[in-house]
Amino acid sequence: MKGDAVVRVDGAVEVRIPRGTYSDAAVLRAVHRSTAGCFVQVEHEEPGTSVVQLRERRPGTDLERAGRQLLNDLLDEALREQVAAATEPVRHLILAQAFSKVNLLHPELDGQPGSGQAPPPPTAPPGDPHRAAHH
């Protein structure tokens, strides 16, 4: 992309982001962080550029600095998406294990001595459908 991505236009600052560089979700997450000091408008221009317009919301906000911070925040959001893609399954597993009453990671340990879990009930042997031998 040629030229500065952060330009002043009519009392606002525009940040031009080539579409495809970051996901739409990453752009929106990064832009949301800017809403403390800025009013934000996001538009899509052809042939494939997202334009984020920042206007002063909090008096004294340095809009050019906010625009450059947005570019850094975009990099962080992209990194977060990489982490999420790599770790979401194991994150779900850890949280499930944390609150599960059975051992999801090592189910073979359930019922073992010291596991805190009761052993599974014995299955009836063939020919003893009413488990009469266990009474």
Binding site: R58, R80, I94, L95, A98, L105, P113
Partner: protein, 506 residues
């Protein structure tokens, strides 16, 4: 099969369970613990800029590392070399799974469960015995009334119904805290509540404690005798040196500081050195004197000072010109005060800053803080409940303060409602839904989320809804300042680290 007579014994079932190395098969060979070339598995983590050079990276349970961005990118892309101090740190703090091991998953799950243990339901019960008060503090967060208006006292009937609700909580640990106004102005009801709950607890068998929050201006020998006989602890306000305290807390006669100090000494003589705690309120006048405030606490023999933020309720809002300040001003005050505390601790004084201690327990241990405003879900109703003088029941003290401003959105009901109606009919649950930081915009991605919490009353008061807008939230900005400050101290200042770590012991 293992011998059922010794259920906890780890015994091999048969000799085939022994490995060639002679270990039971439940133990892995030593070779599996050696770093293998590449191939570590990334574990869930969150990242946030710490300063211009570094990022703070946290895992699900708040363990952290600091690293420059190129190193962080290398971590995420699987390019950290499998040998060396950084790799060992990442393994030991559960940021990566080395090949052949999944121990970290169990450990993370256990720590996560520990941090999120809410099995002790509503342990703190606040009784607002009266709105009467003889002080006229500009930052008072409730609508105080003059001392002669008994219509603003809690009645015995209301207290009886509140006591029934106290014992409706399943919590083994129950703490009853008397508040106001000035609760000693309704001492007869305080006495009644203590005696009735003690009698009922003889049957219930809970661990019951009492605290009275008082300005001590009206303390008598009768009060002290009762507190001694019933193990009632005392919490008072001490805003700083004499001039600051008196300016913050006007009363007829203008001697609030003298009465407070005299009261503290009398309480300690009658009840013991540790039976009195003090809290300060930070006003605009306080901002230039953090060191003097800390020194005053040390001079008066306190081992803890809580450098608090003034919440925007009640008279504090109406007195904003006098007491109001922004996050930047408070942050500078807080850092100066914290450093003064650390300096005094280094020179041998037993003193700690309480907000830092609460956060450090979350940063350095797997345990929850128990602090209502730093929990997810928030501690409303779960940790504390307020029985107001008029019988209204609120989810927190801040909820009561919000109601004083005309917003009763955090009112749960009245003492005439059943326990089930107040806590289990869905109203409290819907409020708590809005306080799950794991699912709040910005918080869900925030590296500081394991240390933080939600303050729905604050966000309702300042931003109009329970969730709030995090990018412009003063609660968020203030807490992130403290988190960053503590992390820098822990990692960059060895002497400060030694002191800070000593504060997590309790």
């Amino acid at each position: 099969m293992p011998d059922p007579a010794t259920p906890d014994a780890i015994t091999p079932r048969t000799t085939s369970h022994r490995t060639r190395a002679g270990l039971h098969s439940w133990f892995r060979p030593a070779a599996e613990f050696s770093p293998a070339a590449g191939g570590y598995r990334l574990l869930p983590l969150r990242l946030a800029p710490l300063d211009a050079e570094r990022y703070v990276v946290t895992n699900l349970v708040g363990e952290h590392v600091l690293m420059p961005r190129p190193e962080l990118v290398a971590l995420v892309e699987g390019r950290i070399p499998p040998k060396g101090e950084l790799y060992d740190t990442l393994v030991s703090r559960h940021f990566v799974l080395p090949p052949g091991s999944d121990v970290a998953l169990d450990l993370l799950a256990a720590k996560y469960r520990t941090r999120n243990d809410h099995s002790e339901f509503t342990g703190l019960h606040l009784f607002v015995l009266t709105l009467r008060c003889d002080h006229t503090c500009p930052y008072c967060q409730v609508s105080r009334v003059s001392s002669d208006r008994a219509a603003f006292d809690m009645t015995q009937d209301t207290a009886d119904r509140a006591i029934d609700l106290v014992f409706g909580s399943p919590s083994v640990n129950l703490k009853i805290e008397f508040q106001g106004g000035e609760p000693l102005l309704n001492f007869s009801l305080l006495r009644y509540v203590v005696e009735r709950t003690e009698a009922q607890n003889a049957r219930e068998g809970r661990l019951l404690q009492y605290v009275v929050t008082t300005n001590l201006a009206n303390l008598t020998e009768e009060h002290l005798g009762f507190f001694r006989d019933h193990a009632v602890q005392v919490s008072t306000s001490l805003d700083g040196p004499r001039e600051l305290h008196n300016a913050n807390r006007p009363r007829p006669g203008g001697d609030a500081y003298g009465r407070t100090i005299e009261g503290i000494h009398r309480c300690r003589e009658a009840l013991g050195q540790d039976a009195v705690a003090a809290l300060m309120t930070t006003t605009r006048r306080s901002l230039e004197q953090p060191e003097a405030i800390v020194d005053e606490y040390v001079a008066q023999g306190f081992r803890s000072v809580f450098l608090r933020w003034l919440s925007p309720y009640g008279h504090a809002v109406r007195s904003d010109r006098v007491v109001g300040y922004g996050v930047t001003e408070w942050s500078a005050f807080y850092e100066r005060g914290l450093r003064r505390v650390i300096d005094l601790a280094r020179s041998g004084h037993a003193i700690r800053e309480e907000y830092a201690a609460i956060i450090l327990r979350k940063m350095l241990t797997p345990f929850a803080s128990g602090y209502v405003d730093l929990q997810s879900p928030a501690g409303l109703g779960l940790g504390a409940v307020v029985y107001n003088y008029d019988g209204d029941v609120y989810a927190s003290d801040e909820a009561r303060m919000l109601a004083e401003m005309g917003d009763r959105s955090l009112r749960l009901g009245t003492v005439r409602d059943s326990y089930e109606r107040l806590f289990l009919d869905g109203r409290l649950e819907s409020i708590l839904d809005a306080t799950m930081t794991e699912a709040t915009p910005v918080c869900t991605d925030c590296a500081f989320e394991p240390f933080c919490g939600a303050d729905p009353a604050f966000h309702r008061a300042t931003q109009g809804d329970f969730v709030g807008h995090r990018p412009s939230s003063a609660f968020c900005e203030r807490n992130m300042f403290v988190f960053r400050l503590l992390l820098r101290m822990l990692n960059d200042e060895p002497e400060a680290r030694r002191i800070l770590e000593s504060w997590i012991q309790g």
